[in-house]
Symmetry: C2
Subunit: 562 residues, 2 copies
C-alpha cells in the first residue's frame, strides 16, 4: 500500500513540477513559452484525466467487490454542494470566454474556443464523478486508481496555479491601468504584453453582450480557483481511502441535521455584521474603483474589520473554553477527512498570517503613528489573532465525539426515570439498552423525544394508560430538566459557531469580489517594491479566500455536532 502511495505521489509531484516550470516560464519569458503552450499541456493532462475518470465510472467501479466500504465522513454535503456550485460557475465562466472569443473571432485563434470546451467537459465529468464517488473506498485496481487520482489532483493544482497567476496579473493590470489613466488623463492607452492584442486591434465592440461577457468573466474568475482547490481536497480524501477497509463495527451514523432552533443572538449579530459588511463593501468598491481612492474609504474598511475581528476572536476563545469545560470524549478514530480538514485549515491560514506579518513589519518600519497606518497595524495583529483562535476552536470542535453529550443527557434523564418507574425493572433494562443504541444514532433532541414516547408506548402496552401517562410526564420533566441544565453550553456553542459562520461568509465575499486593500492602499507596495509585494499577495490572497470558505464548512460541522 505504501509503495502504491509513494509511486502515485511521485507521479503527481513530477507532473506538478513540470507544469509549474511551464507556467513560470510563461510568466517570466513571454516569448519562448506562450499561454497557448501552457494550455496545450493542460489540455493533454485534462484529456488523460477524462479518460481515467470515464474508465473508473464505467469499468473499475462496476467490477464485483469494487466498492465494499464507504467512508461516511468523506464528502459531506456542503463540500459536494460547493463542488457543484463552483463547478457551474466555472462552466459559466468558460461559456463567457467562448462567447467573447466568438465575438472577436477575427483576431483570435480557434484554440481559444477549443480549450474552454475541453475545460467544460472536464469540469462536468469531474463534478459528476465527485458527486457520486466521493465516499468510495475502492478495493480493486489500487495502483491504477491511485495514479489516476493523483494525475487528476495534479491537473487541478496546475489549473489553480494558472488561475491564480492569471487572476492576480489581471487585478494588477487593472490597478495599474487606473493609475496610468489617472496620470495621463486618457491620453496614452496602457499596453501590457498580455493585453496588447486586445488593446490594439481586438477591443470589445460597444455591444451589451460583449460587455456582459467581459464583466462576467472578471467576476466569475475567483470561483474557478476555489473550484480547483475544493476538487483537490475531495480527490485527496478518495486517494487516502483507496484500499481502506472500514470495520463494520462503525456503522455509518445518521448525520445530525442542520436546524436553526435554539439560536437567537448568533444569527442576529451575524446578520447585522453581514449587512454592514455588504454596505461597506459596496461603498469601498464604488470609491476605490471610481476615481482616485482616498484615505477615507480605507479608514472605513479597516474600522469595520477592527470592530468585527475582536468579536470573532472573543467568540472563538469562549467557544474553546466551553469545549474544555464540557469534557467530552475525544474522537481518536482514524479519519482522513478530518486530518485533511485540519491540515487545510492550518495551511490556508498561513497565507493570511504571512501577509499580516509582512504588513506589520512594513508599518512598524515606516510610521506606525499615522491614522491609517495604525489602523492597518491593528487590523493585521487582530487578523493573526482571529485566525489562530478560530483554528483552535474549529480543530477542537472537530475532534469531539458528537453524540456523547446527548447520551449523557439521556443517562441523567434515566436516573430520574428509574426513581419514578421502579415498578418495571426488567423491562426498563431492555428498554434502556435499546434506547441507548438509539441515542447513538439519532441525536436530534426533538426526534429523541418523539422516539422515546413511541418506544415507551410500544414496550408498556400492558401497563394501564394512566400509569403510562404519568410516567411519560415525569420522565419528560426530568429529561427536560437535565436538558436545560446541560444546554447552556451547547446553546452557547451553537450561537458562537453560527455567528462565526456568517462573519466568515462576509469576510469571504469581500476579497472574492474584488476588495483588495492590501494591494490598493499602496503602503506595502512602496515598502517592499512592486514585484515582491505582488508575489506575496499572489501567494497569500487566494489562500486567505480559501481559508474563509473552508472555515465556513468546519464551523457548520461544529454547529451541527454541538
Amino acid at each position: 500500500q505504501k509503495a502504491g502511495q509513494l509511486f502515485s505521489g511521485l507521479l503527481a509531484m513530477n507532473v506538478v513540477f513540470l507544469g509549474s516550470a511551464f507556467i513560470s516560464s510563461m510568466i517570466f519569458n513571454h516569448v519562448a513559452i506562450t499561454l497557448a503552450d501552457v494550455w496545450i499541456l493542460l489540455s493533454i493532462l485534462k484529456v488523460l484525466c477524462l479518460c481515467w475518470i470515464i474508465y473508473y465510472l464505467l469499468g473499475t467501479s462496476r467490477q464485483p467487490h469494487a466498492v465494499l466500504y464507504r467512508d461516511s465522513h468523506a464528502g459531506p454535503i456542503w463540500i459536494r454542494g460547493s463542488v457543484l456550485l463552483f463547478g457551474s460557475f466555472s462552466i459559466l465562466l468558460n461559456m463567457f470566454q467562448i462567447g467573447y472569443s466568438v465575438i472577436l473571432i477575427h483576431c483570435k485563434s480557434m484554440v481559444e474556443i477549443v480549450f474552454p470546451s475541453i475545460e467544460i467537459l472536464f469540469i462536468c465529468t469531474q463534478a459528476f464523478f465527485l458527486w457520486h464517488h466521493s465516499k468510495d473506498c475502492i478495493q480493486v485496481q489500487h495502483n491504477f486508481t491511485r495514479c489516476g487520482l493523483m494525475l487528476t489532483i495534479a491537473t487541478n493544482l496546475l489549473l489553480w496555479l494558472l488561475a491564480v497567476t492569471n487572476d492576480t496579473i489581471h487585478m494588477e493590470i487593472e490597478s495599474q491601468l487606473r493609475e496610468v489613466e489617472q496620470r495621463f488623463a486618457g491620453k496614452a492607452p496602457f499596453s501590457h504584453p498580455y493585453l496588447r492584442n486586445e488593446t490594439t486591434s481586438c477591443t470589445c465592440p460597444n455591444t451589451t453582450i460583449c460587455k456582459v461577457f467581459q464583466k462576467g468573466y472578471i467576476l466569475l474568475y475567483p470561483f474557478n480557483t476555489e473550484y480547483c482547490l475544493v476538487c483537490c481536497s475531495v480527490l485527496y480524501v478518495i486517494w487516502k481511502n483507496v484500499g481502506r477497509r472500514i470495520s463494520h463495527h462503525h456503522v455509518p451514523h445518521i448525520k445530525p441535521k442542520f436546524k436553526l432552533q435554539g439560536v437567537v443572538f448568533g444569527p442576529l449579530l451575524g446578520t447585522t455584521a453581514v449587512i454592514i459588511g455588504i454596505c461597506i463593501f459596496m461603498m469601498y468598491q464604488i470609491q476605490a474603483t471610481g476615481s482616485a481612492p482616498n484615505h477615507q474609504v480605507f479608514v472605513m474598511y479597516y474600522s469595520y474589520y477592527i470592530v468585527l475581528l475582536p468579536l470573532m476572536s472573543v467568540g472563538a476563545v469562549i467557544g474553546t473554553i466551553i469545549h474544555a469545560l464540557e469534557k467530552r470524549e475525544l474522537d481518536t478514530l482514524k479519519n482522513p477527512t478530518r486530518s485533511l480538514d485540519v491540515i487545510l485549515l492550518m495551511g490556508a491560514a498561513l497565507g493570511q498570517i504571512g501577509m499580516s506579518y509582512f504588513s506589520i513589519v512594513a508599518i512598524v518600519a515606516t510610521d506606525p503613528r499615522d491614522l491609517l497606518n495604525s489602523l492597518i497595524l491593528s487590523y493585521s495583529v487582530l487578523l493573526i489573532f482571529q485566525n489562530i483562535t478560530q483554528n483552535v476552536f474549529i480543530i477542537d470542535g472537530l475532534h469531539r465525539q458528537p453524540f456523547v453529550a446527548a447520551a449523557e443527557a439521556r443517562h441523567t434523564g434515566h436516573a430520574g426515570q428509574h426513581a419514578v418507574a421502579s415498578e418495571l425493572p426488567a423491562e426498563e433494562e431492555t428498554t434502556t439498552s435499546s434506547k441507548q443504541e438509539h441515542t447513538q444514532i439519532s441525536p436530534g433532541k426533538e426526534e429523541e423525544m418523539k422516539e422515546e414516547q413511541n418506544h415507551e408506548a410500544y414496550n408498556q402496552r400492558r401497563v394501564s394508560m394512566l400509569e403510562l401517562g404519568q410516567e411519560i410526564r415525569k420522565a419528560s420533566l426530568s429529561y427536560l430538566h437535565s436538558y436545560s441544565h446541560l444546554s447552556w453550553k451547547r446553546r452557547a456553542l451553537r450561537e458562537i459557531s453560527f455567528f462565526l459562520v456568517l462573519c466568515n461568509i462576509i469576510l469571504w465575499v469581500m476579497p472574492t469580489f474584488g476588495a483588495h486593500p492590501v494591494f490598493e492602499n499602496g503602503l506595502e507596495k512602496s515598502f517592499y517594491g512592486y514585484s515582491t509585494w505582488f508575489a506575496i499577495v499572489n501567494f497569500g490572497l487566494p489562500l486567505g479566500v480559501f481559508y474563509r470558505m473552508h472555515s465556513v464548512g468546519g464551523l457548520l460541522e461544529v454547529y451541527i455536532t454541538a
Copy 2:
C-alpha cells in the same frame, strides 16, 4: 498532548513568520530594515533559547522521573557527529568574523563583535544539549519543553534563512563582480549596497591574516547552513518524543556496527568516482573562477555527471529489486526519526527536482540541439531520475527489519545442527530459545559465531571434547553454507549502498565548496531573467546540498542493516 503540540507549533509558526518578514524586508528594503535589526531580533531569540536550554539542562532533565525512556532510534551517531562537526565549523566561522571585524574595527561597530559572540555561545550550548539529550523522551513539564523546543527550531530556521539569503547574495555578488571586472578591466570597482562599506573605506589591508579570515569566512559559510538544518531535524525528533512512553517490550537493540568486510567493488568504483570528481571540481574551480569561463569546462563538468548519474540510478534500481526479492518483514513500529528521515529525503529532493524541471523547460524552449544544451538537458533528466530511484531505495531500506535475515541464517544453521546433535534434545531446545534471543540482539556475523561457540561450550560441558569438536565443525560448516547462500543479496546491497555513499559525498562536496554551474552557465539566467532564476536557485541549491548530506546518512543506515 495534541493541544500542547498545536500550541507550540503555533508559537513557532508565528516566530518564523515574524522573522521571515524581517529578513525579506531587509532584502527588499535596505533602508528601513538593516541587517543589524535582523541581528538584534535573532540575538533576542538566541538568548531566549539559551535560557531555556540551560533551564532544561539544570532543571527539567534533573527532576525525578524526567527521562524514564530513551528513543533508541533518535540521534544516531552520524547525526550527532555531524552536529559536532558543523558546529565546530560554524564556531570557526564566527571566530573568523570576529577577527575580521577586529582588524577593521575603525569602520565597524561593536555589534559586529557582540553578535558573533552570542552566536558562538548559542552554538556551543545547543551542540552540548543535542549531544547529550537527543534520545530523551521527557516526561515532565511537557508544554514548557515543547514551547522551548519549538522556539529553538524556529530560531534555527531563521538562522538558516538568513544564511541562505546571505550565502546566495554573496555568491551572486562574486559572480557579478567578476563580470563587471572583466568588462571594465579593473577600472571601476563594483559597489553593491551590501559591500559599499567595505569597498569604499574598509578594504582589507594586505596582510595575510586578514585574507585568511576573509577566505575562511567564504569557505566555511555552507557548513553553517547545514548546521542549522541538522539541528532543526534533531530538535524536531526530540519534540515528537516529548511525553512519549516506549513500552519496555522493545529493548534497545545493540546497533550493528559499521564494518568494511565483504565489499570490494562498491568502495573501488566509489573511490574512483570521488577521485575523478575531485579532479574535475578543481579544474572547474580554476577555470570558472579565473578568467572568462569557457564552454569546455562546463562540457567536462556535465559529462562527469552524465556518466555518474546513470550508474547511481542503476545501482539504486538493482538495490530496490533485491529488496523486493528478499521479502524481509517490514518494520511498521512507530518511529518518529524514520518518518522524519523519509519526509526530509522527499522534501529536500524537491529542491533539486524543481530546479531540474526549470532547466528542462528553459532548454527545450530555447535550443536543445546545441552540444552544451543537450548535455544540460540530459543532466537534468538524469538528475530527476537519480533522485527518485535513490529515494525509493533508501526509503525501502529504512523500512526493513534489520535482523530477520540474520535470524533466518541462524534457523537454517539450526536445521543442520539438529540433524547432527539429536542426542541432546532437551538442552538443545533451551539453547535454541536463548540463542534466538541473542540473534535478535547481535546480528554481526563474526560475533555470532564466537557467541555460538561460547554458548555451546557452556551448555555441553558434560559432553566429551571429541563430540563437541565434531559438532562445532559440522554446525559451522552448515552455517557457512547457508551464509554464503544468502549473502549474495546482502553483499550486493552493501556494495551498492557503499558506492552510493561515496557518490553522494562527492556530489555533496562539489556544490558545497562553490561549483554552481546552474548559475554560472548563464543559460537559465538569461531565459528566466536574473532575479527569477536567482530566487529559484536560492531555494533549490541549499536543499540540494542538504539532500546529498541526508542521503549519505540514510545510505549508511541501509549499508549497516543490510
